[in-house]
């Protein structure tokens, strides 16, 4: 059964004139890694918020269609219930720290306390999350003393400890330095290995092509395309949607280097393979 079902989703923010999401439908299966790309204002964040119920339970406005997460329709549920199924990590690491806890360890406990978990279960989950996100050595630090990358991993750990089956990440690396960025990518790929479904908005398309099973292309609130990275980045109208392909793809496009399926490579390895093959072929 698909984990996420979206049908005819439409949404307009309060006081706004145009739709931020316009007739969006798709399904995502358990364990998939989905990338979301699109220009600024395309509706990527709004879609993330619609998946987690923030839209329309937090931002009210006008809403149509259905979002069903693991069998629950979000508009018929509450945010605290939905948060047990699907978690969300935002762009700004600072604002995700609750601010009410003095250590990394306690910060992760915040959501678990709200869930009413037993102390032993809480500790077990916190330890697990600390290990998974490689934060164990920082567990007694004040959350605000962490680096950006560490803080973002703490945000992920705090969500993971609540054990949702799906995690949505909205540009989690955009405010991080390269070091912090790769820390977060590594963490996310570890989550994927654990079977967690991942939805990630990301501008670093090279990284995204490496990890994502499928990529969603959004423009002006509409879902333009939803397919494998090579299909998406092989499109020749990406410019119209304000997105760029990975550098390797761009290079291969410029010299017209396609694989046997007629698609351009999207990762460095694929590109190298193809170039080597081509060389052998011609020599």
């Amino acid at each position: 059964m698909a984990k996420i079902v979206v049908e005819g989703l439409k949404y307009r923010y309060p006081l706004a004139k145009k739709l931020a999401l316009n007739d969006i439908s798709f399904e995502v299966d358990e364990g998939e890694f989905i990338g979301i790309i699109g220009a600024n204002g395309a509706g990527k964040s709004t879609l993330c918020q619609a998946l987690t119920g923030i839209v329309p339970l937090f931002f009210k406005g006008a809403y149509g269609g259905r979002v069903v997460i693991d069998g629950i329709e979000v508009t018929k549920s509450s945010l605290s219930e939905i948060s047990l199924k699907i978690g969300m990590v935002l762009q700004n690491p600072f604002t995700q720290i609750t601010g009410s806890k003095l250590t990394v360890y306690e910060e992760i406990a915040f959501g678990l306390e709200n869930m009413g978990l037993e102390r032993e279960e809480m500790k077990r989950r916190i330890d697990e999350a600390l290990m998974l996100l490689d934060l164990y050595k920082h567990k007694d630090k004040n959350p605000f003393d962490l680096s950006g990358g560490q803080m973002q991993r703490l945000a992920i750990a705090s969500i993971i400890a609540m054990q949702p089956k799906i995690i949505v990440l909205d540009e989690p690396t955009s405010q991080l330095d390269p070091q912090g960025s790769s820390e977060v990518f590594k963490a996310v790929s570890d989550l994927k290995k654990k079977g967690i479904t991942i939805i990630m908005v990301e501008h670093k398309v090279e990284k995204l092509s490496e990890y994502a099973d499928r990529i969603m292309l959004l423009h002006d609130g509409r879902l333009i395309d939803f397919d494998t990275p090579s299909k998406i980045f092989s499109r020749d109208d990406l410019k119209d949607y304000g997105v760029v392909e990975p550098v390797f793809t761009r290079y291969c496009k410029s010299i017209g280097l396609k694989n046997e399926m007629g698609l351009y490579p999207v990762t460095l390895d694929e590109a190298v393979d193809l170039v080597v093959k081509k060389r052998e072929h011609s020599s």
Partner: protein, 257 residues
């Protein structure tokens, strides 16, 4: 500054007393000082507070707290000594000013009251971690949401302050003048506070979303990571303080007759 607090970390018995008991102690001190205007009683409670502060090894830290009120406390003596409506008996002449006994006595009463209250509060503030105090109150029925608000203020303010310098530099580099005539300085206020307000409101929106995703609005009864056991010693102190509070009220009622 990571967190606003006057807490002084020491290992004393006073630090280990249940925060609720310290609150009850404040309540008792205020009631005693407000209801009983007897110098002996006021001095006795002040001495008790000072001894407890001494026991908590924080007596030195009380002075900065008192210093906030120092100037008023001094001027109270002057103004009451000179102008208290009940003034009759001249005490001393300083130049053309006559200080009266009634006013001076009244001012001492006021000063003792304020010192009593300051010292009782200091006992709580200096020997209790704010986060422990708040968590304790939440366990005892304070709304967890209010608890969150209180706890987060202590860390969010220092975070906001760190953006102040950024704003100041940015606006100065755009030619904002922060010195000179009063009108110039008044005009500079909005360009400074405006961005601070915008930043903090936008953070508010994001933080609210993040909290929602952490079960902030959950209807399930909240549990606590940290354990908490009330010792029988704490219970004993609590009953004693409650008895003292009742006794004070009754005493006052009886005396009034």
């Amino acid at each position: 500054m990571r967190m606003m607090s006057l807490y002084k970390d020491r290992n004393t018995i006073v630090h280990k007393i249940d925060p609720l008991n310290k609150i009850l102690y404040i309540l008792a001190s205020i009631l005693i000082t407000m209801l009983i205007s007897d110098f002996k009683v006021l001095i006795l409670t002040l001495v008790v507070s000072l001894l407890l502060l001494l026991l908590g090894k924080v007596i030195k830290n009380v002075f900065p707290i008192i210093s906030f009120s120092l100037i008023v406390l001094v001027t109270i003596v002057i103004i009451q000594g000179l102008f208290n409506p009940n003034n009759k008996t001249p005490l001393v002449n300083i130049g053309q000013f006559i200080f009266y006994k009634e006013g001076i006595i009244y001012s001492f009463l006021l000063i003792l009251r304020v010192l009593n209250i300051l010292c009782a509060f200091s006992l709580l503030i200096l020997t209790t971690k704010p986060s422990d105090l708040i968590e304790n109150l939440v366990r005892r029925g304070l709304s967890p949401k209010l608890g969150y608000v209180l706890a987060s203020v202590l860390q969010i303010i220092p975070q906001m302050l760190s953006t102040m310098d950024t704003i100041l530099d940015a606006q100065r580099s755009r030619g904002l003048e922060t010195e000179g005539k009063l009108i110039k300085r008044v005009k500079a206020f909005i360009p400074l506070i405006g961005p601070a307000v915008m930043n903090s409101l936008i953070s508010t929106r994001e933080r609210a979303m993040a909290l929602e995703m952490r079960g902030f609005n959950s209807n399930i009864k909240k549990t606590f990571l940290n354990e908490h056991d009330e010792t029988s010693f704490d219970k004993l102190i609590r009953y004693l303080l409650i008895a003292l509070i009742i006794f004070t009220i009754v005493w006052r009622l009886v005396w009034l007759k």
